[in-house]
């Protein structure tokens, strides 16, 4: 075994603070809607989602919110509420056919209320409906999903389809010292993943591949504020290598290809794909005590514990690190819990596998005792299974 430990540095990605939801506002919005006071209902629903933003009279002026690189406009016009975000403008000579096909196959869909719409050469994600059909739950769903989708389809389309992006929020690149740190993290990460891939191939274990795939995608997402083509390429590969339904050989090959291509990313390419964006709506899910319990206790931890007691420290350590990274990468936590989770990772960083596994095992038990809740073990297992694929 050539790799003896994993580095878990402090993230460059900035922490997104938790803004606890005021559910009373949402309930009042529903009541106002049921009383057919549609203007108040919309105002209250927007206040619920955007507590730090002053909501204007939408009939008089549009509300502009920034979500990563997406600019989302919300306004009332002719008795309807409209929400839109420009994605791209088609250029003559651009790869328009491929771009249009991508929009039709990947962005248009059943099961979502907003859709891509083409006006002239400008393609936007749009949603519009009458005020009388603007139930707050519907508005909240669109406002959570449309900006996120618009943010995900950012500058990478310029490179891939040669379109222009006329109405995007620029994301400031990192300062030089921060970038140097990011570059070191990037290289360390893919180098470690490459070595662990060899271990995965040697062990021929699907469970190991599950953990490694999750770690390869989630750790770097947690550590670096990625956007643009590099994030798009990583996400595209991760769709295959983290897909538990896919054949292991295909996942292995996709992970190997991803590691190879990510390792070849130049400094300039990475520099252009890193930056601290701002988000009007926190894109992370709210972390909960039950999530901590479901991830760090119950059958899931028992299974990791069995690896640890059987002396399979590498697998146990990786599973624990992967779980911690998942909790931090996709969830926002109160400062105290976030700090606790980060401390666990820092303690395990660069430690030999056995020591890292022991440290994190004890840390996880203590974290569940202090920040988890009592959960039916079967529920815990179910939640963990469900959430691990993200």
């Amino acid at each position: 075994m050539s790799i003896t430990s994993l580095r878990c540095p402090a993230p460059i990605r900035r922490r997104l603070p938790v803004a606890p939801r005021d559910y009373d506002l949402r309930d009042r919005a529903i009541t106002a809607f049921e009383q057919q006071d549609f203007a108040s209902s919309i105002q209250l629903a927007l206040q619920y989602l955007l507590p730090e933003i002053s909501i204007p009279d939408l009939a008089a002026e549009p509300l502009l919110i920034v979500q990563g690189s997406a600019r989302v406009r919300v306004h009332i016009d002719a008795g309807s509420l409209a929400i839109s975000a420009v994605l791209a403008e088609l250029q003559s000579g651009s790869a328009a056919t491929a771009a249009l096909r991508y929009y039709l196959t990947r962005l248009s869909a059943t099961g979502q209320l907003f859709q891509p719409r083409l006006r002239g050469a400008v393609l936007s994600l749009e949603f519009r409906d009458q005020l009388g059909l603007m139930h707050p739950l519907k508005l909240i769903e669109v406002l959570q999903r449309l900006p996120m989708e618009a943010d995900a389809n950012d500058g990478w389309m310029v490179e891939r389809f040669h379109v222009s992006t006329p109405d995007r929020e620029p994301v400031a690149t990192l300062a030089e010292p921060e970038f140097d740190q990011a570059w070191a993290i990037w290289n360390d990460h893919w180098s470690a993943m490459n070595e662990l891939l060899l271990e995965s191939r040697r062990r021929r274990s699907v469970r190991f591949l599950d953990t490694l795939g999750s770690l390869a995608a989630n750790h770097i997402r947690y550590l670096l504020p990625l956007f643009g083509p590099v994030r798009a390429d990583l996400n595209e590969s991760a769709e295959t290598f983290t897909d538990n339904e896919e054949h292991p050989n295909k996942r292995d090959s996709s992970l190997a290809k991803c590691i190879k291509s990510m390792s070849k990313v130049s400094q300039e390419q990475l520099r252009n794909c890193l930056g601290h964006a701002s988000y009007a709506i926190n894109p992370l899910q709210e972390g909960t005590p039950s999530l901590i319990s479901s991830m760090l206790s119950g059958n899931r931890m028992q299974s990791t514990g069995e690896l640890r007691s059987a002396g399979r420290s590498l697998e146990a350590a990786l599973e624990l690190i992967s779980d911690y990274v998942y909790l931090l990468a996709y969830h926002s936590w109160p400062a105290e819990i976030e700090s606790t989770l980060r401390t666990g990772l820092e303690q395990a960083s660069d430690k030999p596998w056995r020591e890292a596994a022991d440290l994190l095992w004890n840390h996880a038990n203590s974290t569940v005792r202090s920040h988890g809740n009592d959960l039916d073990p079967s529920v815990a297992e179910e939640s963990a299974e469900y959430s691990y694929d993200a």
């Binding site: 249009l100 096909r101 039709l104 196959t105 248009s108 059943t110 209320l113 891509p116 739950l137």
Partner: protein, 379 residues
């Protein structure tokens, strides 16, 4: 053996046989003709619905009215809205069945078109829950229920009813003697509808608690009263079915299982389903892309003019979609705007396939009713 059929050739062509798919708001199953106007199926396929849809081989559907149920023996007879011409299979002789004898099962497993599976009789008179069944190892899947089990002479020897889910290749059919008796009793039936007592088999015409003939507590066997009432519809079902009715689509004929509907609007196939707890989807796979003029086609499909509808592509199949949020369905009792949207969607789907084929070089989608593409009404 009937003189008309060579046993080696008899099941080569199954499309002409009178075996059809039955649809309700709870699921789908199979059924077979006992004469040109009547279909036999399982009770669990149709109950508690009194009106069901029966799909012909050309995918048109006709209304079926349930006339007789035997919940305990799991049999039902459905009267079709009009006579159909497919071949009526004959009932065979169940007395000579023996293990290892070949059987052929016809039906619509997991909603696929009419399919044949084969196996042998594992036990000719298997006792299970105090009733006898023909046990077979032939593949039985959801959707096969109510279909015929045939012998080599293409005669019905049993009716598919269930399988053990905890075991492999253990399926059961209702013996043909019970089926024959059920049909004979139906032929003598005077009332429009009746349910047989599970104990004495007397036909009961009303939702009674006790059998008037043998005094059995009927509720102890099944929720007997429910056989006499259509199920209380979910608000979502109410919304979809009233909106379809306003769009001149018969909602009973459109039913395709729980919270699913499927029908054709002229040439265009339309499916309606809930993908999650929040969205009700209407989608019509209209056409498949050609190889030329794709820029123009894609620009047309993405045009903002189509709102509130949208086109998307699943592989090379172009679909027209409408998504309704469930909160809209529950927001008020009346939904005139939403119902109007459904009507527009149904009309637009019917018109759009022709447009895509004529103006953008597309070809019909696999489920397009091509006979209707150029009909005057369609134009």
């Amino acid at each position: 053996m009937t003189p008309d059929h060579d046993p080696n050739q008899s099941l080569d062509e199954i499309d002409g046989l009178g075996v059809f798919q039955v649809y309700t708001g709870a699921g789908t199953g199979s059924g077979f003709l006992i004469d040109q106007r009547h279909l036999l199926t399982n009770c669990h396929v149709v109950a508690p619905y009194r009106q069901v849809a029966v799909e012909m081989r050309d995918r048109t559907r006709i209304m079926g009215t349930v006339r007789r149920l035997h919940p305990y023996r799991d049999l039902a007879i459905v009267e079709l809205a009009h006579a159909v011409n497919e071949e009526v299979l004959t009932l065979g002789d169940g007395s000579a069945l023996r293990p290892k004898q070949s059987v052929h099962i016809l039906g619509f497993p997991v909603g696929l078109p009419l399919s044949l599976t084969e196996g042998v009789i594992s036990h000719a008179h298997q006792l299970l829950d105090e009733q006898h069944y023909v046990q077979t190892d032939a593949a039985i899947n959801p959707g096969n229920s109510g279909g015929p089990i045939l012998d080599d002479q293409r005669q019905i020897i049993a009716v598919t009813t269930c399988k053990l889910t905890s075991a492999d290749s253990v399926g059961f059919g209702i013996p043909v003697e019970d089926v024959r008796r059920f049909i004979d009793d139906f032929r003598a039936q005077k009332s429009k509808f009746g349910v047989q007592c599970p104990a004495c088999e007397e036909l009961i015409g009303d939702a009674l608690r006790y059998c008037p003939s043998c005094g059995t507590d009927l509720e102890a066997y099944h929720e007997f009263a429910e056989f006499f009432d259509e199920p209380d519809p979910h608000p979502l079902v109410n919304f979809v079915e009233s909106a379809l009715a306003k769009a001149n689509v018969d909602p009973v004929l459109a039913r395709h299982g729980n919270h699913n509907w499927s029908f054709h609007s002229g040439s265009a196939p339309i499916k309606v389903w809930c993908c999650c707890s929040e969205h009700l989807n209407f989608s019509s796979p209209l056409a498949q892309t050609g190889s030329k003029g794709l820029d123009q086609l894609f620009q047309f499909l993405l045009s903002a003019d189509h709102a509130p509808f949208c086109f998307d592509m699943n592989g090379s199949t172009i679909r027209l979609n409408l998504v309704v949020h469930i909160s809209d369905v529950f927001a008020s009792a009346e939904h005139p705007e939403l119902a109007a949207r459904v009507t527009q969607f149904v009309a637009k789907a019917n018109a759009s396939d022709n447009l895509l084929i004529d103006c953008y070089g597309c070809s019909p989608a696999p489920e397009t009713q091509t006979d209707f593409l150029n009909s005057p009404a369609h134009q």
